[in-house]
Symmetry: C2
Subunit: 110 residues, 2 copies
DNA sequence: ACCCATGTTCGACATCCGTCGAACAACCTC
DNA sequence: GAGGTTGTTCGACGGATGTCGAACATGGGT
């Protein structure tokens, strides 16, 4: 790519949900840590990345948030040194009606 | 368990859906081959294992069917040397309403 | 300017997962 | 019972994935 020299913020890679394979969406949700993040995000509103302390290092947390973002599940707003994440619930519910609710209302335990 | 010496057919391991972690169910669906199988099964009725010719060896097919069965998604009836598989749609729709429909009606392409 | 706080990226590592061929098991038919 | 059909199990192998610490990048505060 040729747009390397841009000094300021580079845009985050947030694909159109319809361009993401279903298997990618499902795989993104098929992880305990990421599911905890999604559950927290489902409360609504924005959360700074640092909000999610689920017993993993910040490197791992960053990795999981990247997976969610690139699966089209979250949107990220950059503000200073922080990043605020929110669920793309509307688009999700439109393209996969029932999916998110089914996952969220699921029995959390084994 | 003590029912080991039974000579004939041994029962297949088919867990209660509520005992299966959501992540296991989602992971089972997050694979192209298995999704094709589920789509075929969603037509209704029973299908012999050999029905599913999706460009993988029979060892691989057997593996995928095992994953689906142990995730609580399918039920298997043994008849002679064949095994007939069907979707546990009712239970699935009851425990995860909307999940299956969302996945099935999803755009198949990338 | 310096330091600190917030996140990302980079190896590295271990584990899991999909895939296959080959061997095995069960059953049916002739 | 010999052979064929159907399906499972057993290594083995390669690629993907979750995890971490350390280094890096960026922006805010004093």
């Amino acid at each position: 790519m040729s747009n390397m020299g841009y000094p300021g913020h580079m845009e985050l890679h947030e694909p159109e949900l319809r361009d993401v394979p279903v298997t990618t969406v499902l795989a993104a949700l098929a992880d305990d840590v990421r599911l905890q993040i999604v559950r927290a995000l489902a409360e609504g509103g924005e959360y700074a990345c640092g909000t999610f302390e689920f017993g993993v290092s910040k490197a791992t947390r960053s990795h999981h948030l990247k997976v969610l973002r690139e699966a089209g599940l979250t949107r990220t707003r950059v503000a200073g040194t922080s990043r605020y994440v929110r669920l793309r619930r509307d688009e999700l519910d439109r393209l996969y009606p029932g999916l998110l609710d089914a996952v969220l209302t699921a029995p959390a335990g084994a």
